[in-house]
Assembly symmetry: C2
Homo-oligomer: 423 residues x 2
């Protein structure tokens, strides 16, 4: 057993070191070359789609035999349509400007030193995720277009799917004259492998976990490498005293119902006490028609008599389902305090016609995205015009909100001198 | 014992929660108010300087009794001159523009949503440092000016000094109408307290460790909060075949000798083989006169016969002293490969008159600051024109190189709608 254990560690280390080595070369790859890779990848995904689906079938069969849930199997499943979606994603990323080499700032110092701040790739990025083979392709193309190398660690249930997808990505890199080692899949070593990967801070520059909260907490607890993540999205909509109530109905309904399983869906509706009696019955009717379960605070339950009373745990709960908690608040201040206490700093909306109230909300709520008179569902790289996103960050360093290509870069300072020395 | 242990944890948690609470208010403080605080702080540090020195005396006496090294005691010591330096630092920070509220980007989407990306404070920043009371003031003023709350955890040997300094900072905050809880010192709980602080990821947004490598490694290993740091600075100067050799002498000498104990001082000199015989004897003469110990590769030792042969451990060693390792390389490619292997991604210089060679070096070396014909000693917030720095990062997310006020902020997206919903 011991020898086997040494063996997988060595294998992982050797793989990661190969990626690290290529990351230095990758600092220098042109946008044209990287776009050529994306074009080839599109063709290859199309050409190989039946083989991909066949490999995926093996994973599905095993998952079904093991009794995995239907939601799990659905996420694992690749179809021609889903492969088409990957090909489209590659098209979007191909059309995005390459951030590498962009000059962000420039200055000339009194001693004549000229300093430029220029965007560069981050280096080696590890993606730790669950059994979603679409992430294999979508995360890779974003990392690669921004000049980064990628270590992929997907769920073992997707191993056949991931293997063929990574084989296709590597082949496409090679055909474009880029090193195949820019992407590597690590599927050995079980859970210990994840811990081991997270200890390799000399070779990996950033870890992006994608998946459920428990996966993300595990990554954060073990990693000695910087991690960017969001645990969950507990988003609120606050309907102010000065709201246009018709708009409030439409926007709140959309935020809850349009796609309740996403992190930017609303979980809690906050309503100003002065308009609660007018607003809540209409809101409740819409929710009822859409089969949304409502859980109200004591004051809410006095107005909506037939709904459940919310427990303390309901505030701050990410339902990811057709459930909403409703609370009546005394003021915008109370709404802000509630959100800063129970929110997850993701997406928060205020519905009001009062500009000053909206401004206060924008200044004092501590979240990645704040909405005035719009649905929280817009927090998304595509909707923001970033083209694509590798995820959404609720961290407060590096990147907050949707992370696109630019957020997969860092910078270096280039200093041009003529023999300057420090006194 | 158990009760005592619970007691310090509760005390720390309660303190950190107070800071977290104020961090929401601090999102909103005006530059004028923060500058008023800095003016009051300047006056108070001046007025209280004798009391500060008296408190510091207690710490010094204990340290001397305990047999601490003279370097340690020197770093611990406060004098009127050093307090004057703190007051000047406050002046510099006061004159810097407040980054909070700056618009970084703006777009209007086809659906009419207007999106603004606006700088905000990070929130609560913990500074974990050793027994240097000057850090107490300098880190605090940078964090506070950028609208952040600060948790200070300094070395226990500086406890009397830190206590009075934090008392003065709190008093100055209050006099300016700002909450004293924007800064809090945690001095209970011993080493376990540091571990506990590093687990409070729900309340602290960022940890900045300042000190030796072992302190920083401990912080990285235990923290579940994002950390920005640099372990050490192993900086190189590469003297190219096409270098102006006179310039190479001056710049290399400055990089090594001007202040060898700093992280941006040169540790290794790389010399192109074609100019080594011309260059090295003159360089060695200068180093010898300045009492610099030289350790050369085998080829170097053939030219400089009386110097020590470098061991493998010399490459990548941070001497922080008048010691330099010297290696002859075959090409700029070998120099780049050496630096990417042994360097710490801090500051790297090339001396050459060949623009193309310099460009290659700039593209392919993976470091925070790259110098063409200038000394690595310029990597410094002041020298870069950032006004002041809280430290230098060799990380590759959020901030790289000197971290000033801007690097102590993040952003939020503000989205202005008129009832938009997602389809």
């Amino acid at each position: 057993m011991k020898e086997i254990s040494v063996d997988w560690k060595e294998k992982i280390l050797e793989t990661v070191q190969r990626s690290r080595k290529e990351s230095f070369n990758a600092l220098n790859f042109s946008a044209d070359r990287k776009n050529e890779f994306l074009s080839i990848l599109q063709k290859e995904l199309n050409r190989e789609s039946s083989r991909i689906i066949k490999a995926n079938r093996k994973d599905i069969d095993t998952a079904v035999k093991k009794g995995c849930s239907s939601v799990f199997v659905d996420r694992l499943t690749l179809t021609h349509e889903r492969i088409e979606k990957m090909i489209k994603a590659a098209e979007v990323v191909k059309n995005l400007p390459d951030p590498v080499g962009q000059k962000m700032w420039e200055t000339t110092r009194p001693n004549g030193l000229r300093i430029e701040k220029v965007r560069t790739p981050i280096g080696v990025i590890a993606i730790i995720y669950e059994s979603r083979p679409d992430v294999t392709v979508e995360a890779s193309i974003l990392c690669l277009k921004s000049g980064n190398c990628v270590i992929l660690r997907g769920g073992k249930e997707a191993k056949h799917s991931n293997r063929i997808l990574v084989e296709i990505i590597k082949g496409s890199l090679n055909s474009a004259g880029l090193p195949g080692d820019m992407v590597n899949l690590i599927s050995t070593g079980g859970r210990k492998a994840v811990k081991y990967i997270l200890s390799l801070n000399g070779y990996i520059d950033l870890v992006i976990p994608r998946g459920g909260e428990s996966l993300i907490r595990t990554v954060v607890n073990y990693s000695t490498i910087p991690v960017i993540k969001h645990y969950k999205g507990v988003c609120h909509t606050y309907v102010d005293r000065d709201a246009d109530l018709k708009m409030a109905l439409t926007v709140s309904f959309n935020a809850k119902v349009q796609r309740p399983g996403t992190c930017n869906a609303m979980e809690t509706l906050l309503v100003h006490k002065d308009i609660a009696e007018d607003f809540l019955p209409d809101m409740a009717e819409l929710f009822r028609k859409a089969n949304v379960e409502m859980r109200g605070c004591e004051r809410t339950v006095r107005i909506l008599k037939d709904i459940k009373t919310a427990a303390e745990e309901d505030w701050g709960m990410e339902y990811l389902d057709l459930i909403v908690s409703i609370k009546i608040v005394d003021s915008v201040e109370s709404a802000i305090a509630h959100i800063n206490r129970y929110g997850t700093m993701h997406s928060e909306a205020i519905i009001t016609e009062n500009r000053q109230t909206a401004e206060k909300f924008f200044k004092e709520v501590d979240a990645a995205a704040l909405y005035h008179n719009a649905s929280t569902r817009f927090t998304d790289g595509g909707e923001f015009g970033l083209g694509a996103e590798i995820g959404i960050s609720t961290d407060k360093i590096h990147a907050r909100g949707p992370m696109g290509l630019e957020e997969l870069t860092i910078y270096k300072y280039l200093i041009y001198g003529s023999g300057q020395i420090r006194n």
